[in-house]
């Protein structure tokens, strides 16, 4: 049911933990749904110097968290903001349809972390410009990517 790449990221997750003195923290999901993803980032010159994750969830939740930290490393904030949940799933070679909703929120967590960084740096006004509408932190939209 999972691709080899998903199983690889699940079994050997990259960048587990929390960045020390994080510049931004983003968390999505809730324990009722069974998935929580928390991403911490270090930002230098408007680029992601380090990203780490902690995830409570199934295989897909762990793998997407791991993948998004890998994808975002070294990217500028604008580039990072363009990484979508769908792009993360595609980078993993796809996810089973039922996992596309609840367990594929890692990019949302990343976007919240970037928004947190901007807010902390007094740049709230750039949030909408760089990230667009913010994803919800405590849950998820069941109509997102419903076509899967």
């Amino acid at each position: 049911m999972y691709t080899e790449l998903v199983m690889d990221h699940f079994s050997n997750p990259r960048n587990v933990g929390e960045v020390a003195d994080a510049d931004g923290v983003g968390q999505v999901g809730n324990p009722v749904c069974g998935d929580i993803m928390r991403i911490t980032i270090k930002v230098v010159d408007d680029a992601i110097e380090d990203a780490k994750f902690k995830t409570f969830g199934c295989g897909a939740a762990v793998a997407t968290s791991s993948m998004v930290t890998e994808m975002v490393m070294g990217k500028t904030l604008t580039e990072a903001a363009e990484i979508s949940n769908r792009a993360v799933a595609e980078a993993l070679g796809g996810l089973p349809p039922i996992k596309m909703h609840c367990s594929n929120l890692a990019a949302d967590a990343l976007h919240l972390a970037i928004a947190d960084y901007l807010t902390r740096s007094g740049r709230e006004d750039e949030v909408a410009e760089i990230i667009g509408p913010l994803p919800k932190g405590d849950g998820h939209e069941h109509d997102v990517e419903e076509d899967d």
Partner: protein
């Protein structure tokens, strides 16, 4: 290393003696039991011998056994077959029924039956006061499973059947997990209808049976040539039925040894998990449970992750998490016991079988705690340990 199979509640391997008994009926003894010639008569004798074996194992009469395609069909035949011939009234089930009963009851509700769902306590035992209070003057049937597939709890079915009868209702029990694992006697239990399945007791998949107490009237779901006392048309699955009969006989003969061995393995596994992993909650009743079932929930960790990690370590178990169940909701059984959704997401079930050994239990106890530790270290909910 040979993988360790701890998922016998899902299905069991076919006992080699059962397979041996079945084989001729795929080969040279292929006759249709409805035919009068030699091959047909041979098939008929085999089916009736299996019926006698199943009846004997349950303390029933031969004519009270109807062969089906499995537990799900037996449950459907019991509920729909019994209620369809009546004017819609009231039906009672427990909150922890298997989907084969729960979804059938909900289908009946859509056809005009009113449905009472009776809660269970934290151990998974039915709330007797709520059960008794659920009966209405037009309650026609109560259905409560004998042993639960998720948490292993065994219900006081004899008492539940007696209460149903006092209220003028018939009683069905889904005994799919119990038959073969525990002594099951339809007279002791006093049930009117009882479902069982071949592949949960070292028999083949695709065969089961419904016990129908003499005088209990059903209408068939499958219409046709009038097989199985007109209750289940369709040419008999002769090899499967022979396998079920053989598996039932073996289960009865070997019951005491199997039970003692499984209880000892179960306790070893349960004690080991509770000792090694902080904050684990044991699910279901500690003693009034299936001999081979151990279920627990591990806080801060999600079940599918544990299941997949264990699989990679060579141990196959099940989980009641949403992901593992292929839906968006965690197990309704664990929620019905009063656990929170996040606890239900972290559940693991090990169901042991006759071929499991102490060494395998010890191997599980060796690999499981580090997996939990690794996943907890990764969990944003966990703040202990480290």
């Amino acid at each position: 290393m040979k993988p360790i199979y701890f998922d016998h509640a899902a299905t069991t391997p076919v006992d080699t003696r059962v397979l041996e008994a079945m084989m001729p009926f795929f080969g040279e003894r292929y006759g249709n039991p409805s035919e009068l010639h030699g091959l047909g008569r041979e098939g008929r004798r085999a089916v009736e011998a299996a019926r006698a074996a199943v009846a004997a194992a349950l303390g029933a009469e031969e004519r009270e056994i109807v062969f089906t395609s499995g537990g799900t069909e037996a449950d459907n035949l019991a509920l729909v077959g019994y209620l369809e011939r009546l004017e819609p009234g009231h039906l009672i089930v427990s909150a922890i029924e298997h989907a084969a009963v729960m979804e059938t009851a909900k289908a009946l509700k859509r056809r005009g039956w009113s449905l009472g769902i009776v809660p269970v306590d934290r151990d998974g035992l039915i709330d007797l006061d709520a059960y008794e209070a659920a009966f209405c003057p037009d309650t026609r049937l109560a259905s409560v499973m004998l042993a639960n597939n998720v948490v292993g709890t065994v219900q006081p079915v004899a008492e539940l059947a007696r209460i149903a009868h006092e209220h003028g209702a018939a009683f069905h029990t889904d005994a799919v997990q119990a038959v073969g694992a525990l002594p099951v006697d339809v007279e002791d239990l006093g049930v009117d209808l009882l479902s069982l399945s071949g592949h949960k007791l070292y028999g083949p998949k695709g065969v089961g049976a419904l016990y129908v107490r003499r005088g209990t009237r059903l209408v068939p779901l499958m219409h046709g040539g009038g097989h199985e006392h007109r209750l289940r048309s369709g040419t008999e699955n002769v090899p499967g039925i022979v396998g079920l009969g053989t598996a039932m006989s073996l289960a009865v003969q070997e019951m005491p040894e199997r039970q003692a061995r499984l209880v000892s393995l179960r306790e070893r596994l349960a004690d080991g998990v509770l000792a090694a992993i902080p904050e684990v909650a044991y699910l279901g009743h500690r003693t009034q449970r299936l001999p081979g079932n151990v279920a627990f929930t591990v806080p801060y960790v999600e079940g599918e992750s544990m299941l997949l990690q264990l699989d990679q370590a060579g141990v196959m178990v099940a989980s009641g998490s949403a992901c593992a169940s292929g839906s968006l909701e965690p197990s309704h059984v664990i929620l019905a016991l009063g656990y929170r959704p996040e606890e239900a997401h972290g559940s693991v079930r090990a169901s042991l079988g006759t071929e499991n050994t102490e060494a395998e239990v010890d191997r599980f106890l060796e690999v499981f705690p580090p997996i939990v530790e690794k996943l907890r270290a990764m969990s944003p909910l966990y703040h202990g340990g480290a």
